[in-house]
Symmetry: C2
Subunit: 318 residues, 2 copies
Protein backbone atom coordinates (compact mmCIF):
# COMPACT_ATOMS: atom_id res chain seq x y z
CA UNK A 1 0.00 0.00 0.00
CA UNK A 2 2.73 2.44 0.88
CA UNK A 3 4.70 1.60 -2.25
CA UNK A 4 4.40 3.81 -5.28
CA UNK A 5 5.59 3.71 -8.88
CA UNK A 6 8.93 5.50 -9.22
CA UNK A 7 7.47 8.14 -11.52
CA UNK A 8 4.79 9.17 -9.02
CA UNK A 9 6.12 11.92 -6.74
CA UNK A 10 5.85 11.33 -3.00
CA UNK A 11 5.46 13.91 -0.28
CA UNK A 12 9.07 13.11 0.65
CA UNK A 13 10.11 14.18 -2.85
CA UNK A 14 8.48 17.61 -2.67
CA UNK A 15 8.91 18.28 1.08
CA UNK A 16 6.76 20.06 3.62
CA UNK A 17 6.61 23.46 1.91
CA UNK A 18 6.04 21.95 -1.53
CA UNK A 19 3.16 19.91 -0.15
CA UNK A 20 1.60 22.92 1.57
CA UNK A 21 1.73 24.90 -1.69
CA UNK A 22 0.01 22.10 -3.63
CA UNK A 23 -2.63 21.52 -0.97
CA UNK A 24 -3.38 25.23 -0.76
CA UNK A 25 -4.14 25.23 -4.49
CA UNK A 26 -7.00 22.76 -3.81
CA UNK A 27 -8.72 25.00 -1.29
CA UNK A 28 -11.54 27.25 -2.43
CA UNK A 29 -12.10 30.89 -1.56
CA UNK A 30 -13.90 31.38 1.70
CA UNK A 31 -16.07 34.37 2.38
CA UNK A 32 -15.48 33.80 6.12
CA UNK A 33 -11.69 34.15 5.84
CA UNK A 34 -10.31 37.62 6.50
CA UNK A 35 -6.72 36.28 6.58
CA UNK A 36 -6.24 32.82 5.12
CA UNK A 37 -3.61 30.07 5.13
CA UNK A 38 -0.05 31.35 4.92
CA UNK A 39 0.21 33.51 8.00
CA UNK A 40 0.79 32.40 11.60
CA UNK A 41 -2.94 32.14 12.18
CA UNK A 42 -6.08 32.56 10.11
CA UNK A 43 -8.51 35.38 10.87
CA UNK A 44 -12.10 34.24 10.53
CA UNK A 45 -15.27 36.29 10.47
CA UNK A 46 -18.30 35.11 12.44
CA UNK A 47 -21.93 36.21 12.30
CA UNK A 48 -21.12 38.96 14.78
CA UNK A 49 -17.33 39.44 14.87
CA UNK A 50 -14.09 37.58 14.22
CA UNK A 51 -11.45 35.32 15.78
CA UNK A 52 -7.96 33.98 15.11
CA UNK A 53 -7.20 30.26 14.74
CA UNK A 54 -4.05 28.18 14.27
CA UNK A 55 -3.27 24.46 14.52
CA UNK A 56 -0.23 22.26 15.18
CA UNK A 57 0.19 18.50 15.05
CA UNK A 58 2.84 17.04 17.38
CA UNK A 59 3.98 13.43 17.11
CA UNK A 60 6.08 11.48 19.62
CA UNK A 61 9.65 10.89 18.46
CA UNK A 62 9.53 13.86 16.08
CA UNK A 63 8.35 16.79 18.18
CA UNK A 64 9.03 15.37 21.63
CA UNK A 65 10.61 12.38 23.32
CA UNK A 66 9.38 10.79 26.52
CA UNK A 67 12.97 10.09 27.61
CA UNK A 68 13.99 13.76 27.18
CA UNK A 69 10.96 15.56 28.57
CA UNK A 70 8.47 15.03 31.38
CA UNK A 71 4.77 14.85 30.47
CA UNK A 72 4.30 18.23 32.18
CA UNK A 73 7.01 19.75 29.94
CA UNK A 74 5.54 18.13 26.83
CA UNK A 75 2.12 19.57 27.68
CA UNK A 76 3.59 23.03 28.26
CA UNK A 77 5.47 22.95 24.95
CA UNK A 78 2.45 21.67 23.01
CA UNK A 79 0.45 24.60 24.35
CA UNK A 80 3.28 27.11 23.89
CA UNK A 81 3.83 26.51 20.19
CA UNK A 82 0.14 27.11 19.54
CA UNK A 83 -0.26 30.07 21.87
CA UNK A 84 2.76 31.52 20.06
CA UNK A 85 0.94 31.44 16.71
CA UNK A 86 -1.80 33.66 18.14
CA UNK A 87 0.85 35.88 19.78
CA UNK A 88 2.50 36.12 16.34
CA UNK A 89 -0.64 37.86 15.00
CA UNK A 90 -0.61 40.35 17.86
CA UNK A 91 -3.48 38.46 19.47
CA UNK A 92 -4.27 36.72 22.74
CA UNK A 93 -5.36 33.07 22.79
CA UNK A 94 -8.60 32.33 24.64
CA UNK A 95 -9.54 28.71 23.85
CA UNK A 96 -7.74 25.55 22.70
CA UNK A 97 -8.86 22.12 21.55
CA UNK A 98 -6.69 19.02 21.94
CA UNK A 99 -6.86 15.80 19.94
CA UNK A 100 -4.93 13.14 21.84
CA UNK A 101 -3.84 9.72 20.60
CA UNK A 102 -1.89 7.18 22.65
CA UNK A 103 -1.27 3.46 23.12
CA UNK A 104 -3.41 1.60 25.68
CA UNK A 105 -0.47 0.99 28.02
CA UNK A 106 0.19 4.68 28.64
CA UNK A 107 -0.28 5.44 32.35
CA UNK A 108 -3.26 7.64 33.15
CA UNK A 109 -0.92 9.75 35.28
CA UNK A 110 1.11 10.63 32.15
CA UNK A 111 -1.97 12.10 30.45
CA UNK A 112 -3.04 14.01 33.55
CA UNK A 113 0.46 15.48 34.02
CA UNK A 114 0.57 16.44 30.35
CA UNK A 115 -2.84 18.11 30.73
CA UNK A 116 -1.70 20.00 33.83
CA UNK A 117 1.38 21.23 31.95
CA UNK A 118 -0.79 22.27 29.02
CA UNK A 119 -3.17 24.19 31.27
CA UNK A 120 -0.27 25.76 33.21
CA UNK A 121 1.14 27.18 29.97
CA UNK A 122 -2.30 28.37 28.86
CA UNK A 123 -2.66 30.19 32.19
CA UNK A 124 0.06 32.64 31.03
CA UNK A 125 -2.49 34.17 28.66
CA UNK A 126 -5.74 33.20 30.45
CA UNK A 127 -6.74 30.49 27.95
CA UNK A 128 -8.06 26.98 28.62
CA UNK A 129 -8.83 23.70 26.87
CA UNK A 130 -12.44 23.88 25.66
CA UNK A 131 -12.80 20.57 23.86
CA UNK A 132 -10.97 17.54 22.62
CA UNK A 133 -10.95 14.04 21.25
CA UNK A 134 -9.09 10.94 22.35
CA UNK A 135 -8.20 7.87 20.31
CA UNK A 136 -5.93 4.85 20.39
CA UNK A 137 -2.69 5.16 18.40
CA UNK A 138 0.73 3.48 18.40
CA UNK A 139 2.59 6.68 19.25
CA UNK A 140 1.48 9.66 21.26
CA UNK A 141 -0.17 12.32 19.08
CA UNK A 142 -1.06 15.80 20.36
CA UNK A 143 -3.11 17.83 17.88
CA UNK A 144 -3.73 21.33 19.15
CA UNK A 145 -5.87 24.15 17.76
CA UNK A 146 -5.66 27.57 19.39
CA UNK A 147 -8.23 30.32 18.96
CA UNK A 148 -8.01 33.90 20.13
CA UNK A 149 -8.83 37.56 19.80
CA UNK A 150 -6.85 40.42 18.29
CA UNK A 151 -7.73 44.09 18.29
CA UNK A 152 -5.64 44.46 15.12
CA UNK A 153 -4.16 41.26 13.59
CA UNK A 154 -0.66 41.94 12.24
CA UNK A 155 0.31 40.00 9.10
CA UNK A 156 3.67 38.99 7.70
CA UNK A 157 3.02 41.03 4.60
CA UNK A 158 3.07 44.64 5.81
CA UNK A 159 6.82 45.41 6.06
CA UNK A 160 7.87 48.53 4.10
CA UNK A 161 11.26 49.73 2.86
CA UNK A 162 12.72 51.99 5.52
CA UNK A 163 11.19 49.98 8.40
CA UNK A 164 13.36 48.59 11.18
CA UNK A 165 13.44 44.89 12.13
CA UNK A 166 13.26 43.88 15.79
CA UNK A 167 12.81 40.78 17.89
CA UNK A 168 11.48 39.91 21.34
CA UNK A 169 12.26 36.74 23.34
CA UNK A 170 15.21 34.36 23.20
CA UNK A 171 17.25 33.40 20.13
CA UNK A 172 19.11 30.12 19.73
CA UNK A 173 18.62 28.83 23.24
CA UNK A 174 16.25 25.94 22.47
CA UNK A 175 18.26 25.05 19.38
CA UNK A 176 21.45 24.86 21.44
CA UNK A 177 19.61 22.72 24.00
CA UNK A 178 18.43 20.36 21.27
CA UNK A 179 21.99 20.10 19.92
CA UNK A 180 23.28 19.29 23.41
CA UNK A 181 20.58 16.67 24.06
CA UNK A 182 21.15 15.14 20.61
CA UNK A 183 24.79 14.54 21.52
CA UNK A 184 23.89 12.95 24.85
CA UNK A 185 24.55 15.98 27.08
CA UNK A 186 22.05 17.12 29.70
CA UNK A 187 23.59 20.59 30.10
CA UNK A 188 23.83 23.57 29.99
CA UNK A 189 20.60 23.43 31.96
CA UNK A 190 19.22 26.76 30.73
CA UNK A 191 19.52 25.62 27.10
CA UNK A 192 18.21 22.10 27.69
CA UNK A 193 15.32 23.50 29.72
CA UNK A 194 14.56 25.96 26.91
CA UNK A 195 14.28 23.07 24.47
CA UNK A 196 11.96 21.22 26.85
CA UNK A 197 9.80 24.23 27.71
CA UNK A 198 10.07 27.38 25.60
CA UNK A 199 9.16 30.77 27.07
CA UNK A 200 7.43 32.71 24.32
CA UNK A 201 7.19 36.45 25.02
CA UNK A 202 3.39 36.42 25.29
CA UNK A 203 3.10 40.11 26.15
CA UNK A 204 5.23 41.15 23.17
CA UNK A 205 2.77 40.26 20.40
CA UNK A 206 -0.11 42.49 21.51
CA UNK A 207 2.44 45.17 22.49
CA UNK A 208 3.93 45.14 18.99
CA UNK A 209 0.45 45.40 17.47
CA UNK A 210 -0.33 48.30 19.79
CA UNK A 211 2.94 50.03 18.85
CA UNK A 212 2.03 49.87 15.16
CA UNK A 213 4.14 46.91 13.99
CA UNK A 214 3.89 46.68 10.19
CA UNK A 215 4.66 42.93 10.08
CA UNK A 216 4.89 40.25 12.77
CA UNK A 217 5.70 36.53 12.96
CA UNK A 218 6.99 34.04 15.50
CA UNK A 219 10.37 32.37 15.12
CA UNK A 220 9.59 28.67 14.93
CA UNK A 221 11.68 27.76 11.88
CA UNK A 222 14.68 29.95 12.88
CA UNK A 223 15.27 33.71 12.71
CA UNK A 224 16.62 33.64 9.16
CA UNK A 225 13.77 31.51 7.78
CA UNK A 226 11.02 33.40 9.61
CA UNK A 227 12.36 36.87 8.80
CA UNK A 228 12.56 35.45 5.27
CA UNK A 229 8.80 34.76 5.45
CA UNK A 230 8.23 38.47 6.24
CA UNK A 231 10.55 39.52 3.40
CA UNK A 232 8.79 37.24 0.94
CA UNK A 233 5.23 38.09 2.04
CA UNK A 234 6.06 41.83 2.04
CA UNK A 235 8.15 41.77 -1.18
CA UNK A 236 11.06 43.51 0.52
CA UNK A 237 14.70 42.81 1.38
CA UNK A 238 15.84 42.52 4.99
CA UNK A 239 19.39 42.91 6.28
CA UNK A 240 20.22 41.78 9.82
CA UNK A 241 23.08 43.27 11.85
CA UNK A 242 24.68 40.37 13.72
CA UNK A 243 26.37 42.73 16.19
CA UNK A 244 22.95 43.56 17.65
CA UNK A 245 21.91 39.98 18.50
CA UNK A 246 21.84 39.20 22.21
CA UNK A 247 23.49 35.76 22.32
CA UNK A 248 22.58 33.85 25.49
CA UNK A 249 25.66 32.62 27.40
CA UNK A 250 24.43 29.01 27.23
CA UNK A 251 24.35 29.25 23.43
CA UNK A 252 28.03 30.25 23.42
CA UNK A 253 28.80 27.39 25.82
CA UNK A 254 27.17 24.82 23.52
CA UNK A 255 28.64 26.28 20.32
CA UNK A 256 32.13 26.30 21.85
CA UNK A 257 31.75 22.70 23.06
CA UNK A 258 30.51 21.52 19.65
CA UNK A 259 32.91 23.67 17.62
CA UNK A 260 30.18 25.47 15.71
CA UNK A 261 29.47 29.18 15.26
CA UNK A 262 27.08 30.51 17.91
CA UNK A 263 25.47 32.51 15.13
CA UNK A 264 24.20 29.24 13.64
CA UNK A 265 21.95 28.67 16.66
CA UNK A 266 20.82 32.30 16.74
CA UNK A 267 20.00 32.43 13.03
CA UNK A 268 18.61 28.94 12.42
CA UNK A 269 17.44 27.58 15.77
CA UNK A 270 13.67 27.27 16.13
CA UNK A 271 11.57 26.31 19.12
CA UNK A 272 12.24 29.42 21.24
CA UNK A 273 9.07 30.99 19.84
CA UNK A 274 10.54 34.47 19.93
CA UNK A 275 8.84 37.11 17.79
CA UNK A 276 10.21 39.08 14.85
CA UNK A 277 8.54 42.27 13.68
CA UNK A 278 9.02 45.32 11.55
CA UNK A 279 8.17 48.83 12.67
CA UNK A 280 8.27 52.24 11.07
CA UNK A 281 11.66 53.86 11.76
CA UNK A 282 9.75 56.57 13.67
CA UNK A 283 8.05 54.06 15.99
CA UNK A 284 9.16 53.65 19.58
CA UNK A 285 9.91 49.95 20.14
CA UNK A 286 8.01 48.51 23.11
CA UNK A 287 10.01 47.24 26.11
CA UNK A 288 11.59 43.86 25.42
CA UNK A 289 12.04 44.49 21.70
CA UNK A 290 15.58 44.75 20.28
CA UNK A 291 16.35 46.37 16.93
CA UNK A 292 18.34 43.96 14.73
CA UNK A 293 17.98 45.06 11.14
CA UNK A 294 16.52 47.15 8.38
CA UNK A 295 14.03 46.74 5.53
CA UNK A 296 14.80 47.94 2.01
CA UNK A 297 13.64 47.48 -1.57
CA UNK A 298 14.57 44.11 -3.01
CA UNK A 299 14.19 40.51 -1.95
CA UNK A 300 15.75 38.00 0.42
CA UNK A 301 17.50 38.16 3.78
CA UNK A 302 21.15 39.05 4.31
CA UNK A 303 23.27 39.14 7.46
CA UNK A 304 25.73 42.06 7.69
CA UNK A 305 25.05 42.70 4.02
CA UNK A 306 25.96 39.17 2.88
CA UNK A 307 24.04 35.95 2.20
CA UNK A 308 24.34 33.60 5.17
CA UNK A 309 25.94 30.31 4.20
CA UNK A 310 24.62 28.24 7.08
CA UNK A 311 22.02 25.53 7.36
CA UNK A 312 18.44 26.71 6.93
CA UNK A 313 15.28 25.92 8.84
CA UNK A 314 13.89 22.46 9.45
CA UNK A 315 11.50 20.89 6.91
CA UNK A 316 9.65 17.62 7.41
CA UNK A 317 10.44 14.71 5.04
CA UNK A 318 13.69 16.43 3.93
CA UNK B 1 9.25 3.40 28.38
CA UNK B 2 5.81 2.20 27.53
CA UNK B 3 5.87 -0.34 30.35
CA UNK B 4 4.31 0.53 33.65
CA UNK B 5 4.13 -0.99 37.09
CA UNK B 6 1.07 -3.24 37.38
CA UNK B 7 -0.46 -1.08 40.08
CA UNK B 8 -0.38 2.07 37.94
CA UNK B 9 -3.60 2.34 35.91
CA UNK B 10 -3.21 2.77 32.16
CA UNK B 11 -5.55 4.55 29.80
CA UNK B 12 -6.49 1.08 28.51
CA UNK B 13 -7.65 0.20 32.02
CA UNK B 14 -10.01 3.15 32.38
CA UNK B 15 -11.06 3.48 28.71
CA UNK B 16 -11.90 6.49 26.57
CA UNK B 17 -14.74 7.88 28.68
CA UNK B 18 -12.89 7.34 31.95
CA UNK B 19 -9.89 9.21 30.55
CA UNK B 20 -12.04 12.10 29.31
CA UNK B 21 -13.62 12.44 32.77
CA UNK B 22 -10.23 12.54 34.50
CA UNK B 23 -8.72 14.97 31.99
CA UNK B 24 -11.72 17.27 32.29
CA UNK B 25 -11.13 17.50 36.03
CA UNK B 26 -7.71 19.09 35.30
CA UNK B 27 -9.13 21.89 33.18
CA UNK B 28 -9.80 25.26 34.79
CA UNK B 29 -12.88 27.42 34.40
CA UNK B 30 -12.78 29.63 31.35
CA UNK B 31 -14.53 32.94 31.18
CA UNK B 32 -14.56 32.61 27.38
CA UNK B 33 -16.53 29.35 27.42
CA UNK B 34 -20.29 29.66 27.08
CA UNK B 35 -20.68 25.90 26.57
CA UNK B 36 -17.68 23.80 27.56
CA UNK B 37 -16.36 20.27 27.04
CA UNK B 38 -19.05 17.60 27.15
CA UNK B 39 -21.35 18.68 24.34
CA UNK B 40 -20.88 18.10 20.60
CA UNK B 41 -19.04 21.40 20.26
CA UNK B 42 -17.90 24.14 22.59
CA UNK B 43 -19.41 27.61 22.37
CA UNK B 44 -16.77 30.29 22.83
CA UNK B 45 -17.21 34.00 23.36
CA UNK B 46 -14.98 36.44 21.48
CA UNK B 47 -14.34 40.14 22.01
CA UNK B 48 -17.35 40.88 19.83
CA UNK B 49 -19.45 37.71 19.51
CA UNK B 50 -19.17 33.94 19.72
CA UNK B 51 -18.42 30.81 17.71
CA UNK B 52 -18.71 27.02 17.95
CA UNK B 53 -15.68 24.70 17.84
CA UNK B 54 -15.17 20.93 17.81
CA UNK B 55 -12.21 18.67 17.08
CA UNK B 56 -11.64 15.07 15.93
CA UNK B 57 -8.46 13.05 15.58
CA UNK B 58 -8.49 10.34 12.90
CA UNK B 59 -5.74 7.72 12.66
CA UNK B 60 -5.11 5.32 9.79
CA UNK B 61 -6.06 1.74 10.59
CA UNK B 62 -8.49 2.83 13.31
CA UNK B 63 -10.75 5.40 11.67
CA UNK B 64 -10.03 4.60 8.03
CA UNK B 65 -8.17 2.07 5.89
CA UNK B 66 -6.44 2.87 2.63
CA UNK B 67 -7.47 -0.51 1.20
CA UNK B 68 -11.17 0.10 1.97
CA UNK B 69 -11.56 3.74 1.03
CA UNK B 70 -10.20 6.10 -1.62
CA UNK B 71 -8.34 9.21 -0.46
CA UNK B 72 -11.29 11.29 -1.72
CA UNK B 73 -13.67 9.25 0.47
CA UNK B 74 -11.34 9.51 3.47
CA UNK B 75 -11.21 13.29 3.05
CA UNK B 76 -14.98 13.53 2.78
CA UNK B 77 -15.49 11.42 5.89
CA UNK B 78 -12.87 13.34 7.90
CA UNK B 79 -14.71 16.55 7.07
CA UNK B 80 -18.16 15.03 7.61
CA UNK B 81 -17.58 13.86 11.16
CA UNK B 82 -16.45 17.35 12.16
CA UNK B 83 -19.10 19.25 10.23
CA UNK B 84 -21.59 16.96 11.97
CA UNK B 85 -20.46 18.15 15.41
CA UNK B 86 -21.35 21.73 14.48
CA UNK B 87 -24.63 20.50 12.91
CA UNK B 88 -25.32 18.73 16.22
CA UNK B 89 -25.39 22.12 17.98
CA UNK B 90 -27.85 23.51 15.45
CA UNK B 91 -25.00 25.46 13.83
CA UNK B 92 -23.34 25.80 10.45
CA UNK B 93 -19.60 25.21 10.06
CA UNK B 94 -17.66 28.01 8.37
CA UNK B 95 -13.94 27.20 8.79
CA UNK B 96 -11.84 24.09 9.43
CA UNK B 97 -8.18 23.48 10.24
CA UNK B 98 -6.40 20.25 9.33
CA UNK B 99 -3.29 18.77 10.94
CA UNK B 100 -1.90 16.13 8.59
CA UNK B 101 0.76 13.53 9.34
CA UNK B 102 2.02 10.93 6.87
CA UNK B 103 5.04 8.83 5.90
CA UNK B 104 7.46 10.24 3.30
CA UNK B 105 6.54 7.61 0.69
CA UNK B 106 2.89 8.70 0.47
CA UNK B 107 2.14 9.88 -3.08
CA UNK B 108 1.44 13.60 -3.39
CA UNK B 109 -1.65 12.66 -5.42
CA UNK B 110 -3.08 10.88 -2.35
CA UNK B 111 -2.91 14.05 -0.27
CA UNK B 112 -4.38 16.20 -3.03
CA UNK B 113 -7.28 13.76 -3.59
CA UNK B 114 -7.91 13.65 0.16
CA UNK B 115 -7.93 17.46 0.23
CA UNK B 116 -10.35 17.61 -2.70
CA UNK B 117 -12.67 15.17 -0.93
CA UNK B 118 -12.43 17.21 2.26
CA UNK B 119 -13.26 20.43 0.45
CA UNK B 120 -16.09 18.75 -1.51
CA UNK B 121 -17.74 17.71 1.76
CA UNK B 122 -17.21 21.18 3.27
CA UNK B 123 -18.92 22.68 0.21
CA UNK B 124 -22.22 21.17 1.46
CA UNK B 125 -22.29 23.83 4.15
CA UNK B 126 -20.14 26.52 2.51
CA UNK B 127 -17.09 25.97 4.74
CA UNK B 128 -13.40 25.71 3.76
CA UNK B 129 -10.00 24.77 5.16
CA UNK B 130 -8.49 27.94 6.64
CA UNK B 131 -5.24 26.61 8.07
CA UNK B 132 -3.24 23.52 8.79
CA UNK B 133 -0.02 21.84 9.74
CA UNK B 134 1.86 18.95 8.14
CA UNK B 135 4.36 16.61 9.73
CA UNK B 136 6.06 13.29 9.14
CA UNK B 137 4.51 10.27 10.90
CA UNK B 138 4.50 6.50 10.45
CA UNK B 139 0.77 6.32 9.85
CA UNK B 140 -1.57 8.84 8.28
CA UNK B 141 -3.06 11.19 10.88
CA UNK B 142 -5.87 13.63 10.10
CA UNK B 143 -6.59 16.06 12.94
CA UNK B 144 -9.55 18.27 12.14
CA UNK B 145 -11.03 21.23 14.01
CA UNK B 146 -14.31 22.72 12.79
CA UNK B 147 -15.60 26.15 13.73
CA UNK B 148 -18.98 27.62 12.99
CA UNK B 149 -21.87 29.89 13.81
CA UNK B 150 -25.18 29.18 15.50
CA UNK B 151 -28.09 31.53 16.00
CA UNK B 152 -29.12 29.45 19.02
CA UNK B 153 -26.80 26.58 20.05
CA UNK B 154 -28.84 23.57 21.22
CA UNK B 155 -27.28 21.50 24.01
CA UNK B 156 -27.74 17.90 25.04
CA UNK B 157 -29.05 18.98 28.40
CA UNK B 158 -32.38 20.62 27.62
CA UNK B 159 -34.73 17.63 27.20
CA UNK B 160 -37.83 17.79 29.43
CA UNK B 161 -40.31 15.12 30.55
CA UNK B 162 -43.19 15.10 28.08
CA UNK B 163 -40.94 15.95 25.12
CA UNK B 164 -40.84 13.74 22.04
CA UNK B 165 -37.64 12.20 20.63
CA UNK B 166 -36.93 12.36 16.90
CA UNK B 167 -34.11 11.68 14.49
CA UNK B 168 -33.01 12.90 11.05
CA UNK B 169 -30.69 11.08 8.65
CA UNK B 170 -29.84 7.40 8.28
CA UNK B 171 -29.66 4.79 11.05
CA UNK B 172 -27.51 1.67 10.92
CA UNK B 173 -26.40 1.97 7.30
CA UNK B 174 -22.72 2.76 7.90
CA UNK B 175 -22.56 0.21 10.71
CA UNK B 176 -23.95 -2.48 8.41
CA UNK B 177 -21.42 -1.45 5.76
CA UNK B 178 -18.60 -1.73 8.26
CA UNK B 179 -19.82 -5.21 9.30
CA UNK B 180 -19.93 -6.29 5.65
CA UNK B 181 -16.43 -4.92 4.90
CA UNK B 182 -15.05 -6.49 8.08
CA UNK B 183 -16.18 -9.90 6.84
CA UNK B 184 -14.61 -9.38 3.43
CA UNK B 185 -17.78 -8.40 1.55
CA UNK B 186 -17.91 -5.37 -0.74
CA UNK B 187 -21.71 -5.20 -0.85
CA UNK B 188 -24.48 -4.14 -0.41
CA UNK B 189 -23.08 -1.08 -2.10
CA UNK B 190 -25.37 1.43 -0.41
CA UNK B 191 -24.21 0.25 3.04
CA UNK B 192 -20.52 -0.03 2.13
CA UNK B 193 -20.66 3.41 0.51
CA UNK B 194 -22.32 4.81 3.64
CA UNK B 195 -19.43 3.53 5.73
CA UNK B 196 -16.94 5.10 3.33
CA UNK B 197 -18.75 8.42 3.00
CA UNK B 198 -21.52 9.30 5.43
CA UNK B 199 -24.26 11.74 4.46
CA UNK B 200 -25.02 13.80 7.54
CA UNK B 201 -28.32 15.70 7.32
CA UNK B 202 -26.65 19.12 7.35
CA UNK B 203 -29.89 21.08 6.96
CA UNK B 204 -31.53 19.26 9.86
CA UNK B 205 -29.45 20.75 12.69
CA UNK B 206 -30.25 24.41 12.06
CA UNK B 207 -33.85 23.39 11.22
CA UNK B 208 -34.20 21.63 14.57
CA UNK B 209 -32.79 24.67 16.36
CA UNK B 210 -35.24 26.90 14.48
CA UNK B 211 -38.14 24.60 15.37
CA UNK B 212 -37.31 24.91 19.08
CA UNK B 213 -35.49 21.61 19.73
CA UNK B 214 -34.89 21.28 23.47
CA UNK B 215 -31.87 18.97 23.07
CA UNK B 216 -29.77 17.93 20.08
CA UNK B 217 -26.82 15.64 19.38
CA UNK B 218 -25.35 13.73 16.48
CA UNK B 219 -25.32 9.93 16.39
CA UNK B 220 -21.65 9.02 16.19
CA UNK B 221 -21.53 6.38 18.94
CA UNK B 222 -24.87 4.75 18.00
CA UNK B 223 -28.49 5.81 18.59
CA UNK B 224 -28.75 4.16 21.99
CA UNK B 225 -25.48 5.64 23.30
CA UNK B 226 -26.11 9.12 21.93
CA UNK B 227 -29.73 9.32 23.05
CA UNK B 228 -28.27 8.12 26.35
CA UNK B 229 -26.03 11.21 26.37
CA UNK B 230 -29.15 13.40 26.07
CA UNK B 231 -30.91 11.44 28.84
CA UNK B 232 -27.89 11.75 31.13
CA UNK B 233 -27.18 15.43 30.41
CA UNK B 234 -30.88 16.30 30.79
CA UNK B 235 -31.50 14.01 33.81
CA UNK B 236 -34.46 12.36 32.14
CA UNK B 237 -35.51 8.89 30.94
CA UNK B 238 -36.02 8.17 27.26
CA UNK B 239 -38.02 5.33 25.75
CA UNK B 240 -37.65 4.50 22.05
CA UNK B 241 -40.39 2.82 20.01
CA UNK B 242 -38.66 0.37 17.69
CA UNK B 243 -41.70 0.17 15.40
CA UNK B 244 -41.04 3.76 14.31
CA UNK B 245 -37.46 3.25 13.11
CA UNK B 246 -37.01 3.42 9.36
CA UNK B 247 -34.68 0.47 8.71
CA UNK B 248 -32.81 0.84 5.39
CA UNK B 249 -33.21 -2.22 3.15
CA UNK B 250 -29.43 -2.69 2.97
CA UNK B 251 -29.31 -2.97 6.76
CA UNK B 252 -31.82 -5.82 6.61
CA UNK B 253 -29.78 -7.46 3.83
CA UNK B 254 -26.60 -7.38 5.92
CA UNK B 255 -28.30 -8.43 9.15
CA UNK B 256 -29.98 -11.38 7.38
CA UNK B 257 -26.66 -12.44 5.79
CA UNK B 258 -24.81 -12.25 9.10
CA UNK B 259 -27.64 -13.71 11.18
CA UNK B 260 -27.90 -10.72 13.50
CA UNK B 261 -30.87 -8.56 14.48
CA UNK B 262 -31.21 -5.52 12.18
CA UNK B 263 -32.07 -3.54 15.30
CA UNK B 264 -28.48 -3.98 16.46
CA UNK B 265 -27.22 -1.86 13.57
CA UNK B 266 -29.98 0.72 14.01
CA UNK B 267 -29.45 1.06 17.76
CA UNK B 268 -25.68 0.74 18.05
CA UNK B 269 -24.19 1.61 14.65
CA UNK B 270 -22.27 4.89 14.54
CA UNK B 271 -20.73 6.72 11.60
CA UNK B 272 -23.97 7.71 9.85
CA UNK B 273 -23.86 11.05 11.66
CA UNK B 274 -27.63 11.24 11.88
CA UNK B 275 -29.08 13.65 14.44
CA UNK B 276 -31.23 12.91 17.48
CA UNK B 277 -33.25 15.64 19.15
CA UNK B 278 -36.02 16.27 21.59
CA UNK B 279 -38.88 18.67 20.96
CA UNK B 280 -41.85 19.85 22.95
CA UNK B 281 -44.85 17.59 22.20
CA UNK B 282 -46.58 20.70 20.79
CA UNK B 283 -43.77 21.42 18.31
CA UNK B 284 -44.16 20.67 14.62
CA UNK B 285 -41.23 18.48 13.57
CA UNK B 286 -39.33 19.91 10.59
CA UNK B 287 -39.29 17.93 7.32
CA UNK B 288 -36.91 14.98 7.50
CA UNK B 289 -37.38 14.41 11.22
CA UNK B 290 -39.07 11.19 12.39
CA UNK B 291 -40.60 10.79 15.85
CA UNK B 292 -39.15 7.71 17.58
CA UNK B 293 -39.70 8.08 21.31
CA UNK B 294 -40.71 9.97 24.41
CA UNK B 295 -39.04 11.68 27.36
CA UNK B 296 -40.17 11.09 30.92
CA UNK B 297 -38.99 11.50 34.51
CA UNK B 298 -36.26 9.07 35.45
CA UNK B 299 -32.96 7.97 33.99
CA UNK B 300 -31.57 5.79 31.22
CA UNK B 301 -32.75 4.68 27.80
CA UNK B 302 -35.19 1.86 27.11
CA UNK B 303 -36.45 0.36 23.85
CA UNK B 304 -40.16 -0.55 23.80
CA UNK B 305 -40.15 -0.11 27.57
CA UNK B 306 -37.31 -2.56 28.20
CA UNK B 307 -33.54 -2.33 28.61
CA UNK B 308 -31.80 -3.25 25.37
CA UNK B 309 -29.49 -6.22 25.79
CA UNK B 310 -27.26 -5.59 22.78
CA UNK B 311 -23.72 -4.41 22.40
CA UNK B 312 -23.18 -0.75 23.21
CA UNK B 313 -21.25 1.97 21.46
CA UNK B 314 -17.58 1.83 20.55
CA UNK B 315 -14.94 3.01 23.05
CA UNK B 316 -11.22 3.34 22.30
CA UNK B 317 -8.79 1.09 24.24
CA UNK B 318 -11.67 -1.23 25.27
Amino acid sequence: MATTAPEEPTIGDIGEFGLIDQVRAQIGDNRHVLIGPGDDAAHISTKDGSFLVSTDLLVEGRHFRRDWSSPHDIGRKAAACNLSDINAMGGVATALTVGFGAPADLPVSWVLEMTRGFEAECAHVGAHIVGGDVTASDKIIIAVTAMGDAARPVLRSGALPGDVVAYAGQLGLAGAGFAALSRGFRSPKVAVDAHRVPHPPYAAGPQAAGAGATALTDISDGLLADVGHIAEASSVAIDLDSSTFVVPEAVTTVSDALGVDALTFVLTGGDDYALAATFSSQATLPDGWTRIGTVSDGAGVTVDGKAYEGITGHQHWR
